[in-house]
Protein backbone atom coordinates (compact mmCIF):
# COMPACT_ATOMS: atom_id res chain seq x y z
CA UNK A 1 0.00 0.00 0.00
CA UNK A 2 1.42 3.32 -0.96
CA UNK A 3 0.75 6.59 0.80
CA UNK A 4 0.05 9.59 -1.31
CA UNK A 5 2.09 12.54 -0.11
CA UNK A 6 0.26 15.81 -0.50
CA UNK A 7 0.81 19.23 0.97
CA UNK A 8 -1.70 20.88 3.28
CA UNK A 9 -4.57 21.72 3.45
CA UNK A 10 -5.57 18.09 3.70
CA UNK A 11 -9.21 18.76 4.24
CA UNK A 12 -10.95 20.79 1.59
CA UNK A 13 -14.36 21.01 0.10
CA UNK A 14 -14.56 19.05 -3.07
CA UNK A 15 -15.31 21.93 -5.38
CA UNK A 16 -13.25 22.90 -8.38
CA UNK A 17 -12.76 26.50 -9.44
CA UNK A 18 -15.24 26.11 -12.23
CA UNK A 19 -17.89 24.72 -9.87
CA UNK A 20 -17.35 27.59 -7.43
CA UNK A 21 -17.70 30.12 -10.22
CA UNK A 22 -20.83 28.44 -11.52
CA UNK A 23 -22.34 28.59 -8.03
CA UNK A 24 -21.70 32.33 -7.99
CA UNK A 25 -23.55 32.69 -11.28
CA UNK A 26 -26.41 30.48 -10.08
CA UNK A 27 -26.69 32.50 -6.88
CA UNK A 28 -26.85 35.67 -8.95
CA UNK A 29 -29.78 34.40 -11.01
CA UNK A 30 -32.62 35.42 -8.64
CA UNK A 31 -31.24 38.94 -8.40
CA UNK A 32 -30.82 39.14 -12.17
CA UNK A 33 -34.43 38.07 -12.55
CA UNK A 34 -35.57 40.71 -10.08
CA UNK A 35 -33.42 43.36 -11.70
CA UNK A 36 -34.76 42.67 -15.18
CA UNK A 37 -38.30 42.64 -13.82
CA UNK A 38 -37.73 45.98 -12.12
CA UNK A 39 -35.61 47.79 -14.67
CA UNK A 40 -36.60 46.13 -17.92
CA UNK A 41 -35.16 43.64 -20.35
CA UNK A 42 -32.14 45.84 -20.93
CA UNK A 43 -30.43 44.01 -18.07
CA UNK A 44 -30.51 40.79 -20.07
CA UNK A 45 -29.19 42.49 -23.21
CA UNK A 46 -26.30 43.94 -21.20
CA UNK A 47 -25.64 40.53 -19.70
CA UNK A 48 -25.48 38.89 -23.11
CA UNK A 49 -23.14 41.57 -24.46
CA UNK A 50 -20.89 41.32 -21.43
CA UNK A 51 -20.61 37.54 -21.56
CA UNK A 52 -19.83 37.46 -25.27
CA UNK A 53 -17.21 40.19 -24.86
CA UNK A 54 -15.67 38.50 -21.85
CA UNK A 55 -15.29 35.18 -23.62
CA UNK A 56 -13.99 36.80 -26.79
CA UNK A 57 -11.37 38.92 -25.01
CA UNK A 58 -10.31 36.05 -22.75
CA UNK A 59 -9.84 33.81 -25.78
CA UNK A 60 -7.94 36.55 -27.63
CA UNK A 61 -5.46 37.14 -24.80
CA UNK A 62 -4.99 33.43 -24.16
CA UNK A 63 -4.24 32.98 -27.85
CA UNK A 64 -1.66 35.78 -27.69
CA UNK A 65 -0.10 34.21 -24.61
CA UNK A 66 0.07 30.77 -26.25
CA UNK A 67 -2.13 29.19 -23.61
CA UNK A 68 -4.82 26.60 -24.05
CA UNK A 69 -8.09 28.40 -24.47
CA UNK A 70 -10.94 26.05 -23.75
CA UNK A 71 -9.96 24.77 -20.28
CA UNK A 72 -9.43 28.33 -19.09
CA UNK A 73 -12.72 29.54 -20.51
CA UNK A 74 -14.38 26.63 -18.75
CA UNK A 75 -13.26 27.83 -15.32
CA UNK A 76 -16.08 30.38 -15.73
CA UNK A 77 -14.18 33.18 -14.04
CA UNK A 78 -14.70 35.40 -17.08
CA UNK A 79 -18.39 34.60 -16.91
CA UNK A 80 -18.58 35.79 -13.30
CA UNK A 81 -16.74 39.00 -14.12
CA UNK A 82 -19.12 39.65 -17.02
CA UNK A 83 -22.20 39.02 -14.89
CA UNK A 84 -21.03 41.24 -12.05
CA UNK A 85 -20.19 44.10 -14.39
CA UNK A 86 -23.39 43.78 -16.42
CA UNK A 87 -25.61 44.06 -13.34
CA UNK A 88 -23.68 47.09 -12.10
CA UNK A 89 -24.31 49.33 -15.07
CA UNK A 90 -27.57 51.01 -16.03
CA UNK A 91 -29.94 48.70 -17.92
CA UNK A 92 -30.20 50.89 -21.00
CA UNK A 93 -26.64 52.18 -21.20
CA UNK A 94 -25.28 52.24 -24.77
CA UNK A 95 -23.85 48.92 -25.94
CA UNK A 96 -20.24 50.10 -26.27
CA UNK A 97 -20.15 50.95 -22.58
CA UNK A 98 -20.43 47.36 -21.42
CA UNK A 99 -18.19 46.13 -24.24
CA UNK A 100 -15.38 48.54 -23.32
CA UNK A 101 -15.81 47.76 -19.65
CA UNK A 102 -15.73 43.99 -19.99
CA UNK A 103 -12.82 44.02 -22.40
CA UNK A 104 -10.88 46.26 -19.99
CA UNK A 105 -11.73 44.01 -17.04
CA UNK A 106 -10.56 40.85 -18.76
CA UNK A 107 -7.60 42.12 -20.78
CA UNK A 108 -6.07 44.85 -18.63
CA UNK A 109 -7.10 44.02 -15.08
CA UNK A 110 -7.04 40.25 -15.20
CA UNK A 111 -4.90 38.85 -18.02
CA UNK A 112 -2.15 41.48 -18.06
CA UNK A 113 -1.45 40.68 -14.41
CA UNK A 114 -1.15 37.01 -15.29
CA UNK A 115 -4.70 35.70 -15.47
CA UNK A 116 -6.97 34.13 -12.89
CA UNK A 117 -5.42 34.15 -9.44
CA UNK A 118 -2.91 36.89 -10.08
CA UNK A 119 -5.02 40.01 -10.45
CA UNK A 120 -4.52 42.59 -7.71
CA UNK A 121 -7.87 44.21 -8.27
CA UNK A 122 -11.36 42.91 -8.66
CA UNK A 123 -11.78 43.00 -12.47
CA UNK A 124 -15.47 43.88 -12.48
CA UNK A 125 -15.04 46.76 -10.05
CA UNK A 126 -11.93 48.14 -11.75
CA UNK A 127 -13.87 48.16 -15.01
CA UNK A 128 -16.82 49.83 -13.28
CA UNK A 129 -14.56 52.58 -11.98
CA UNK A 130 -13.02 52.98 -15.42
CA UNK A 131 -16.47 53.45 -16.94
CA UNK A 132 -17.63 55.75 -14.17
CA UNK A 133 -14.61 58.00 -14.60
CA UNK A 134 -14.54 57.89 -18.38
CA UNK A 135 -18.27 58.13 -19.08
CA UNK A 136 -19.88 59.71 -16.02
CA UNK A 137 -23.03 60.74 -17.87
CA UNK A 138 -23.88 57.35 -19.35
CA UNK A 139 -22.99 55.53 -16.17
CA UNK A 140 -25.40 57.41 -13.96
CA UNK A 141 -28.43 57.33 -16.23
CA UNK A 142 -30.50 54.71 -14.51
CA UNK A 143 -34.03 54.52 -15.82
CA UNK A 144 -36.70 54.66 -13.14
CA UNK A 145 -38.05 51.26 -12.12
CA UNK A 146 -40.64 49.89 -14.55
CA UNK A 147 -43.39 50.54 -12.05
CA UNK A 148 -42.72 54.27 -12.41
CA UNK A 149 -42.00 54.33 -16.14
CA UNK A 150 -44.31 56.10 -18.51
CA UNK A 151 -43.58 53.82 -21.47
CA UNK A 152 -43.02 50.12 -21.00
CA UNK A 153 -40.30 48.51 -23.08
CA UNK A 154 -40.67 45.04 -24.60
CA UNK A 155 -37.75 42.64 -25.12
CA UNK A 156 -37.18 43.85 -28.69
CA UNK A 157 -37.34 47.47 -27.58
CA UNK A 158 -34.68 46.68 -25.04
CA UNK A 159 -32.31 45.53 -27.78
CA UNK A 160 -33.07 48.66 -29.81
CA UNK A 161 -32.57 50.86 -26.76
CA UNK A 162 -29.21 49.42 -25.89
CA UNK A 163 -28.01 49.52 -29.49
CA UNK A 164 -29.31 52.91 -30.60
CA UNK A 165 -30.44 54.68 -27.42
CA UNK A 166 -34.07 54.75 -28.60
CA UNK A 167 -36.85 52.19 -28.51
CA UNK A 168 -37.92 50.56 -31.78
CA UNK A 169 -40.77 53.06 -32.03
CA UNK A 170 -38.26 55.82 -31.81
CA UNK A 171 -38.97 57.01 -28.29
CA UNK A 172 -35.64 58.31 -27.12
CA UNK A 173 -34.14 57.35 -23.80
CA UNK A 174 -34.48 60.95 -22.70
CA UNK A 175 -38.25 60.58 -22.91
CA UNK A 176 -38.11 57.15 -21.33
CA UNK A 177 -36.19 58.47 -18.41
CA UNK A 178 -39.12 60.60 -17.36
CA UNK A 179 -41.27 59.06 -14.68
CA UNK A 180 -45.07 58.97 -14.63
CA UNK A 181 -45.14 62.41 -13.15
CA UNK A 182 -42.91 63.78 -15.89
CA UNK A 183 -39.93 64.13 -13.56
CA UNK A 184 -36.55 62.73 -14.51
CA UNK A 185 -35.15 60.29 -12.03
CA UNK A 186 -31.95 58.85 -10.77
CA UNK A 187 -31.21 56.13 -8.29
CA UNK A 188 -32.54 56.64 -4.76
CA UNK A 189 -29.04 57.24 -3.42
CA UNK A 190 -28.44 59.84 -6.09
CA UNK A 191 -31.77 61.54 -5.58
CA UNK A 192 -31.40 61.66 -1.83
CA UNK A 193 -27.93 63.12 -2.17
CA UNK A 194 -29.05 65.78 -4.63
CA UNK A 195 -31.95 66.70 -2.38
CA UNK A 196 -29.61 67.01 0.56
CA UNK A 197 -27.46 69.37 -1.45
CA UNK A 198 -30.49 71.44 -2.35
CA UNK A 199 -31.19 71.91 1.33
CA UNK A 200 -34.03 69.41 1.78
CA UNK A 201 -33.96 67.08 4.74
CA UNK A 202 -34.09 63.36 4.12
CA UNK A 203 -37.65 62.90 5.45
CA UNK A 204 -38.75 65.55 2.92
CA UNK A 205 -36.88 63.73 0.19
CA UNK A 206 -38.53 60.44 1.09
CA UNK A 207 -41.90 61.94 0.16
CA UNK A 208 -41.06 61.53 -3.52
CA UNK A 209 -42.68 58.61 -5.40
CA UNK A 210 -39.26 57.04 -5.91
CA UNK A 211 -38.95 56.29 -2.21
CA UNK A 212 -42.20 54.43 -1.57
CA UNK A 213 -41.42 51.83 1.04
CA UNK A 214 -38.54 53.71 2.59
CA UNK A 215 -35.51 52.78 0.53
CA UNK A 216 -36.72 53.33 -2.99
CA UNK A 217 -39.04 51.43 -5.29
CA UNK A 218 -37.56 48.12 -6.29
CA UNK A 219 -34.12 48.64 -4.82
CA UNK A 220 -35.21 47.01 -1.57
CA UNK A 221 -36.37 43.90 -3.39
CA UNK A 222 -33.28 43.85 -5.55
CA UNK A 223 -31.05 43.92 -2.49
CA UNK A 224 -33.16 41.22 -0.86
CA UNK A 225 -32.60 39.04 -3.94
CA UNK A 226 -28.84 39.60 -3.73
CA UNK A 227 -29.03 38.79 -0.03
CA UNK A 228 -30.82 35.52 -0.84
CA UNK A 229 -28.17 34.65 -3.42
CA UNK A 230 -25.45 35.48 -0.92
CA UNK A 231 -26.99 33.23 1.71
CA UNK A 232 -27.07 30.43 -0.86
CA UNK A 233 -23.33 30.96 -1.47
CA UNK A 234 -22.71 30.83 2.28
CA UNK A 235 -24.75 27.66 2.64
CA UNK A 236 -22.81 26.05 -0.21
CA UNK A 237 -19.50 27.01 1.34
CA UNK A 238 -18.49 29.06 -1.70
CA UNK A 239 -17.83 32.11 0.48
CA UNK A 240 -17.17 32.47 4.20
CA UNK A 241 -19.22 34.62 6.55
CA UNK A 242 -16.40 36.94 7.62
CA UNK A 243 -16.28 39.37 4.73
CA UNK A 244 -20.01 39.95 4.18
CA UNK A 245 -20.74 40.19 7.89
CA UNK A 246 -17.93 42.64 8.56
CA UNK A 247 -18.79 44.77 5.49
CA UNK A 248 -22.47 45.02 6.36
CA UNK A 249 -21.81 45.24 10.09
CA UNK A 250 -19.38 48.12 9.90
CA UNK A 251 -21.55 49.95 7.37
CA UNK A 252 -24.59 49.51 9.62
CA UNK A 253 -22.69 50.58 12.73
CA UNK A 254 -21.25 53.72 11.11
CA UNK A 255 -24.58 54.75 9.70
CA UNK A 256 -26.36 53.98 12.97
CA UNK A 257 -24.05 56.37 14.80
CA UNK A 258 -24.45 59.08 12.20
CA UNK A 259 -28.19 58.55 11.93
CA UNK A 260 -28.76 58.76 15.65
CA UNK A 261 -26.79 62.00 15.75
CA UNK A 262 -28.82 63.60 12.98
CA UNK A 263 -31.50 61.61 11.17
CA UNK A 264 -32.35 64.56 8.91
CA UNK A 265 -29.09 64.54 6.97
CA UNK A 266 -27.78 61.00 7.44
CA UNK A 267 -29.12 57.87 5.81
CA UNK A 268 -30.65 55.32 8.16
CA UNK A 269 -28.83 51.99 8.54
CA UNK A 270 -31.71 50.26 6.74
CA UNK A 271 -31.41 52.65 3.79
CA UNK A 272 -27.66 52.11 3.67
CA UNK A 273 -27.94 48.34 3.71
CA UNK A 274 -30.75 48.04 1.18
CA UNK A 275 -29.96 50.62 -1.43
CA UNK A 276 -27.40 50.82 -4.17
CA UNK A 277 -25.10 47.87 -4.46
CA UNK A 278 -24.81 47.02 -0.75
CA UNK A 279 -25.85 43.37 -0.79
CA UNK A 280 -24.39 42.68 -4.23
CA UNK A 281 -21.04 44.04 -3.17
CA UNK A 282 -20.97 42.49 0.30
CA UNK A 283 -21.71 38.96 -0.87
CA UNK A 284 -20.55 38.77 -4.47
CA UNK A 285 -17.86 41.39 -5.02
CA UNK A 286 -15.94 41.85 -1.78
CA UNK A 287 -15.69 38.06 -1.41
CA UNK A 288 -13.72 37.58 -4.62
CA UNK A 289 -11.23 34.91 -3.54
CA UNK A 290 -8.38 36.36 -5.60
CA UNK A 291 -8.35 40.02 -4.68
CA UNK A 292 -9.68 39.74 -1.11
CA UNK A 293 -7.59 39.05 1.96
CA UNK A 294 -6.82 35.37 2.50
CA UNK A 295 -6.42 35.05 6.26
CA UNK A 296 -9.37 34.64 8.60
CA UNK A 297 -8.56 37.72 10.68
CA UNK A 298 -7.47 39.66 7.63
CA UNK A 299 -10.86 39.12 6.02
CA UNK A 300 -12.55 40.83 8.94
CA UNK A 301 -10.23 43.84 8.70
CA UNK A 302 -10.74 43.88 4.94
CA UNK A 303 -14.52 43.82 5.31
CA UNK A 304 -14.55 46.51 7.99
CA UNK A 305 -12.32 48.69 5.80
CA UNK A 306 -14.77 48.36 2.91
CA UNK A 307 -17.77 49.10 5.11
CA UNK A 308 -16.21 52.21 6.65
CA UNK A 309 -14.99 53.47 3.26
CA UNK A 310 -18.45 53.00 1.76
CA UNK A 311 -20.00 54.99 4.56
CA UNK A 312 -17.42 57.75 4.22
CA UNK A 313 -17.70 57.99 0.43
CA UNK A 314 -21.49 57.82 0.44
CA UNK A 315 -21.67 60.54 3.07
CA UNK A 316 -18.92 62.89 1.95
CA UNK A 317 -17.82 61.81 -1.52
CA UNK A 318 -18.76 63.04 -4.96
CA UNK A 319 -20.18 59.84 -6.40
CA UNK A 320 -23.58 58.39 -5.45
CA UNK A 321 -22.49 54.85 -4.75
CA UNK A 322 -19.20 53.91 -3.28
CA UNK A 323 -18.69 50.19 -3.35
CA UNK A 324 -16.45 50.06 -6.41
CA UNK A 325 -14.05 52.62 -4.96
CA UNK A 326 -14.13 51.07 -1.51
CA UNK A 327 -13.42 47.59 -2.87
CA UNK A 328 -10.51 48.82 -5.01
CA UNK A 329 -8.99 50.76 -2.12
CA UNK A 330 -9.33 47.74 0.13
CA UNK A 331 -7.78 45.54 -2.57
CA UNK A 332 -4.74 47.81 -2.44
CA UNK A 333 -4.51 47.27 1.31
CA UNK A 334 -4.76 43.49 1.02
CA UNK A 335 -1.01 42.68 0.86
CA UNK A 336 -0.45 44.72 4.02
CA UNK A 337 -3.42 43.14 5.79
CA UNK A 338 -2.25 39.67 4.83
CA UNK A 339 1.24 40.43 6.07
CA UNK A 340 0.11 41.50 9.53
CA UNK A 341 -2.52 38.82 10.01
CA UNK A 342 -0.50 35.74 9.17
CA UNK A 343 -1.90 32.91 11.29
CA UNK A 344 0.33 31.15 13.78
CA UNK A 345 1.87 28.05 12.31
CA UNK A 346 0.65 24.90 14.06
CA UNK A 347 3.14 23.83 16.71
CA UNK A 348 4.83 27.21 16.97
CA UNK A 349 4.43 29.70 19.77
CA UNK A 350 2.77 33.01 19.20
CA UNK A 351 5.23 35.80 18.56
CA UNK A 352 5.16 38.40 21.33
CA UNK A 353 3.32 41.55 20.38
CA UNK A 354 1.51 39.82 17.57
CA UNK A 355 -1.23 37.30 18.18
Amino acid sequence: MSFRIASSPHQHNQKTTSQLMLWVVIAALPAIAVQSYLFGYGVLVQLLLAIVTAWASEALVLMLRDKTILPRLKDHSALVTAVLLAVSIPAYAPWWLVVIGTAFAIIMVKQLYGGLGFNLFNPAMAAYVLLLIAFPVQMTQWLPPTALQQHALGPLDAVCAVMSQASCQGISLEQLRQGVDGMTMATPLDTARTDLMMGLTLPESYEKPLFQGGVGVGWFWLNLAWLAGGLLLLQQGVIQWRIPVSVLGSLALCSLIAWSVNPDTNFSPLFQLFSGASMLAAFFIATDPVSASTTARGRIYYGVLIGVLVFVIRSFGGYPDAFAFAVLLANMAVPLIDYYTRPRTYGHKAVKGRQ
Binding site: M108, L112, L130, I133, A134, F135, P136
Partner: protein, 231 residues
Amino acid sequence: MSQNYKELATQGLWSNNPGLVQLLGLCPLLAVTNTVTNALGLGIATLLVLLGSNLVVSAIRNWVPREIRIPIFVLVIASFVTAVQLLMNAFTYELYLALGIFIPLIVTNCAIIGRAEAFASKNPMLPSAFDALMMGLGFAAVLLALGAMRELLGQGTLFDGADALLGPWAQALRVEVLALDHYFLLALLPPGAFIGMGLLIAGKNAIDQRKQRKQQVKTAITRARVTGTIV
Protein backbone atom coordinates in the same frame (compact mmCIF):
# COMPACT_ATOMS: atom_id res chain seq x y z
CA MET B 1 34.91 58.02 -32.29
CA SER B 2 31.95 57.52 -34.63
CA GLN B 3 31.35 54.21 -32.84
CA ASN B 4 31.04 56.22 -29.63
CA TYR B 5 28.47 58.54 -31.14
CA LYS B 6 26.49 55.62 -32.46
CA GLU B 7 26.54 54.11 -28.97
CA LEU B 8 25.36 57.44 -27.50
CA ALA B 9 22.52 57.58 -30.01
CA THR B 10 21.21 54.08 -29.28
CA GLN B 11 21.61 54.72 -25.55
CA GLY B 12 19.59 57.91 -25.66
CA LEU B 13 16.96 56.87 -28.14
CA TRP B 14 16.36 53.29 -27.13
CA SER B 15 18.36 51.16 -24.70
CA ASN B 16 18.76 53.79 -21.97
CA ASN B 17 15.81 55.99 -22.88
CA PRO B 18 15.12 58.47 -20.05
CA GLY B 19 11.36 57.94 -20.25
CA LEU B 20 11.05 54.22 -20.87
CA VAL B 21 14.11 52.74 -19.17
CA GLN B 22 15.46 55.20 -16.62
CA LEU B 23 11.89 56.26 -15.78
CA LEU B 24 13.11 59.76 -15.02
CA GLY B 25 11.04 62.90 -15.33
CA LEU B 26 7.79 60.97 -14.99
CA CYS B 27 5.97 63.87 -13.39
CA PRO B 28 5.81 66.09 -16.48
CA LEU B 29 5.75 63.02 -18.71
CA LEU B 30 2.51 61.82 -17.17
CA ALA B 31 0.98 65.20 -16.49
CA VAL B 32 1.12 67.06 -19.77
CA THR B 33 0.84 64.34 -22.39
CA ASN B 34 -2.91 64.65 -22.86
CA THR B 35 -2.44 66.08 -26.36
CA VAL B 36 0.31 65.83 -28.96
CA THR B 37 0.76 69.60 -28.91
CA ASN B 38 1.40 69.76 -25.18
CA ALA B 39 3.75 66.79 -25.41
CA LEU B 40 5.67 68.38 -28.28
CA GLY B 41 5.91 71.69 -26.44
CA LEU B 42 7.30 70.12 -23.30
CA GLY B 43 9.54 67.81 -25.32
CA ILE B 44 11.15 70.72 -27.15
CA ALA B 45 11.51 72.76 -23.96
CA THR B 46 13.18 69.85 -22.18
CA LEU B 47 15.44 69.20 -25.16
CA LEU B 48 16.61 72.84 -25.22
CA VAL B 49 17.27 72.92 -21.48
CA LEU B 50 19.10 69.60 -21.61
CA LEU B 51 21.25 70.76 -24.51
CA GLY B 52 22.18 74.02 -22.81
CA SER B 53 22.82 72.54 -19.40
CA ASN B 54 24.93 69.68 -20.72
CA LEU B 55 27.03 72.10 -22.79
CA VAL B 56 27.67 74.46 -19.87
CA VAL B 57 28.22 71.73 -17.29
CA SER B 58 30.70 70.08 -19.63
CA ALA B 59 32.47 73.38 -20.30
CA ILE B 60 32.96 74.21 -16.61
CA ARG B 61 33.55 70.64 -15.45
CA ASN B 62 37.25 71.22 -14.61
CA TRP B 63 36.55 74.23 -12.38
CA VAL B 64 33.64 72.84 -10.34
CA PRO B 65 34.59 71.50 -6.88
CA ARG B 66 33.14 68.04 -6.42
CA GLU B 67 31.54 68.87 -3.10
CA ILE B 68 29.22 71.57 -4.44
CA ARG B 69 28.63 70.27 -7.93
CA ILE B 70 24.91 69.53 -7.45
CA PRO B 71 23.91 73.11 -6.48
CA ILE B 72 25.95 74.40 -9.38
CA PHE B 73 24.25 72.01 -11.81
CA VAL B 74 20.86 73.11 -10.48
CA LEU B 75 21.80 76.75 -10.92
CA VAL B 76 22.84 76.14 -14.51
CA ILE B 77 19.69 74.18 -15.27
CA ALA B 78 17.50 76.77 -13.56
CA SER B 79 18.93 79.59 -15.62
CA PHE B 80 18.23 77.70 -18.85
CA VAL B 81 14.72 76.84 -17.68
CA THR B 82 14.08 80.49 -16.92
CA ALA B 83 15.25 81.44 -20.38
CA VAL B 84 13.03 78.81 -22.02
CA GLN B 85 10.10 79.83 -19.87
CA LEU B 86 10.46 83.49 -20.85
CA LEU B 87 10.78 82.51 -24.51
CA MET B 88 7.63 80.41 -24.36
CA ASN B 89 5.85 83.19 -22.53
CA ALA B 90 6.78 85.55 -25.33
CA PHE B 91 6.23 83.41 -28.42
CA THR B 92 3.81 80.60 -27.55
CA TYR B 93 1.68 82.20 -24.88
CA GLU B 94 -1.27 79.78 -25.10
CA LEU B 95 0.98 76.77 -24.79
CA TYR B 96 2.74 78.50 -21.90
CA LEU B 97 -0.61 78.74 -20.14
CA ALA B 98 -1.51 75.14 -21.00
CA LEU B 99 1.74 73.71 -19.64
CA GLY B 100 1.60 75.96 -16.60
CA ILE B 101 3.65 74.80 -13.64
CA PHE B 102 5.35 72.06 -15.63
CA ILE B 103 7.70 74.46 -17.41
CA PRO B 104 9.39 75.72 -14.23
CA LEU B 105 9.29 72.16 -12.96
CA ILE B 106 11.75 71.16 -15.68
CA VAL B 107 14.38 72.34 -13.17
CA THR B 108 13.62 69.33 -11.02
CA ASN B 109 13.45 66.91 -13.95
CA CYS B 110 15.84 64.17 -12.87
CA ALA B 111 16.56 63.24 -16.46
CA ILE B 112 18.40 66.54 -16.90
CA ILE B 113 20.38 66.58 -13.68
CA GLY B 114 21.05 62.88 -14.22
CA ARG B 115 22.72 63.57 -17.57
CA ALA B 116 24.70 66.46 -16.11
CA GLU B 117 25.98 64.27 -13.30
CA ALA B 118 26.46 61.02 -15.19
CA PHE B 119 27.76 62.25 -18.52
CA ALA B 120 28.41 65.96 -19.03
CA SER B 121 30.55 66.41 -15.89
CA LYS B 122 32.94 63.74 -17.14
CA ASN B 123 33.08 64.26 -20.90
CA PRO B 124 34.13 66.99 -23.35
CA MET B 125 31.64 69.41 -24.79
CA LEU B 126 30.91 67.82 -28.16
CA PRO B 127 29.97 64.34 -26.91
CA SER B 128 28.01 65.98 -24.08
CA ALA B 129 26.00 68.04 -26.54
CA PHE B 130 25.38 64.98 -28.69
CA ASP B 131 24.34 62.97 -25.64
CA ALA B 132 21.95 65.74 -24.60
CA LEU B 133 20.47 65.83 -28.09
CA MET B 134 19.87 62.09 -28.16
CA MET B 135 18.52 61.89 -24.61
CA GLY B 136 16.29 64.88 -25.31
CA LEU B 137 15.03 63.32 -28.53
CA GLY B 138 14.40 60.03 -26.76
CA PHE B 139 12.43 61.77 -24.03
CA ALA B 140 10.49 63.83 -26.59
CA ALA B 141 9.71 60.68 -28.59
CA VAL B 142 8.17 59.02 -25.52
CA LEU B 143 6.21 62.18 -24.77
CA LEU B 144 4.94 62.29 -28.35
CA ALA B 145 3.99 58.61 -28.42
CA LEU B 146 2.11 58.90 -25.15
CA GLY B 147 0.51 62.17 -26.21
CA ALA B 148 -0.62 60.74 -29.54
CA MET B 149 -2.01 57.65 -27.86
CA ARG B 150 -3.97 59.61 -25.28
CA GLU B 151 -5.23 62.26 -27.67
CA LEU B 152 -6.34 59.65 -30.19
CA LEU B 153 -8.17 57.57 -27.59
CA GLY B 154 -9.48 60.52 -25.64
CA GLN B 155 -10.81 62.86 -28.30
CA GLY B 156 -10.12 61.07 -31.57
CA THR B 157 -7.86 63.84 -32.91
CA LEU B 158 -4.17 64.47 -33.45
CA PHE B 159 -2.36 67.82 -33.23
CA ASP B 160 -5.41 69.53 -31.76
CA GLY B 161 -4.40 73.10 -30.95
CA ALA B 162 -1.02 72.83 -32.67
CA ASP B 163 -1.29 76.50 -33.65
CA ALA B 164 -0.57 77.38 -30.03
CA LEU B 165 2.92 75.98 -30.49
CA LEU B 166 3.77 76.43 -34.15
CA GLY B 167 1.79 79.45 -35.27
CA PRO B 168 -1.48 79.89 -37.18
CA TRP B 169 -0.46 77.75 -40.18
CA ALA B 170 -0.40 74.71 -37.95
CA GLN B 171 -4.17 74.65 -37.68
CA ALA B 172 -4.05 72.64 -40.88
CA LEU B 173 -2.15 69.93 -39.00
CA ARG B 174 -5.19 69.00 -36.93
CA VAL B 175 -6.38 65.56 -37.97
CA GLU B 176 -9.69 64.18 -36.87
CA VAL B 177 -9.06 60.46 -36.98
CA LEU B 178 -12.20 59.30 -35.23
CA ALA B 179 -15.32 61.35 -34.80
CA LEU B 180 -16.23 60.50 -31.21
CA ASP B 181 -19.57 61.48 -29.74
CA HIS B 182 -18.21 61.17 -26.25
CA TYR B 183 -14.72 61.94 -25.10
CA PHE B 184 -13.06 58.94 -23.50
CA LEU B 185 -12.23 60.95 -20.41
CA LEU B 186 -10.07 58.29 -18.82
CA ALA B 187 -7.41 58.60 -21.50
CA LEU B 188 -7.21 62.35 -20.93
CA LEU B 189 -7.10 62.06 -17.14
CA PRO B 190 -4.01 60.96 -15.17
CA PRO B 191 -5.00 57.25 -14.95
CA GLY B 192 -4.85 57.10 -18.74
CA ALA B 193 -1.28 58.41 -18.59
CA PHE B 194 -0.23 55.70 -16.15
CA ILE B 195 -1.90 52.92 -18.12
CA GLY B 196 -0.52 54.23 -21.42
CA MET B 197 2.98 54.54 -19.95
CA GLY B 198 2.77 50.99 -18.66
CA LEU B 199 1.76 49.77 -22.10
CA LEU B 200 4.62 51.66 -23.77
CA ILE B 201 7.18 50.17 -21.38
CA ALA B 202 5.70 46.70 -21.86
CA GLY B 203 5.85 47.18 -25.62
CA LYS B 204 9.52 48.18 -25.49
CA ASN B 205 10.39 45.20 -23.30
CA ALA B 206 8.51 42.87 -25.63
CA ILE B 207 10.49 44.14 -28.63
CA ASP B 208 13.77 43.75 -26.71
CA GLN B 209 12.93 40.22 -25.64
CA ARG B 210 11.99 39.21 -29.17
CA LYS B 211 15.34 40.56 -30.42
CA GLN B 212 17.21 38.71 -27.71
CA ARG B 213 15.47 35.45 -28.51
CA LYS B 214 16.39 35.76 -32.18
CA GLN B 215 20.03 36.38 -31.28
CA GLN B 216 20.08 33.40 -28.95
CA VAL B 217 18.77 31.15 -31.70
CA LYS B 218 21.49 32.42 -34.03
CA THR B 219 24.33 31.90 -31.55
CA ALA B 220 23.01 28.48 -30.61
CA ILE B 221 23.24 27.38 -34.24
CA THR B 222 26.83 28.59 -34.70
CA ARG B 223 27.90 26.94 -31.48
CA ALA B 224 26.50 23.62 -32.62
CA ARG B 225 28.59 23.82 -35.77
CA VAL B 226 31.74 24.70 -33.81
CA THR B 227 31.41 21.76 -31.45
CA GLY B 228 30.66 19.58 -34.43
CA THR B 229 34.00 20.35 -36.09
CA ILE B 230 36.04 20.25 -32.89
CA VAL B 231 34.72 16.88 -31.79
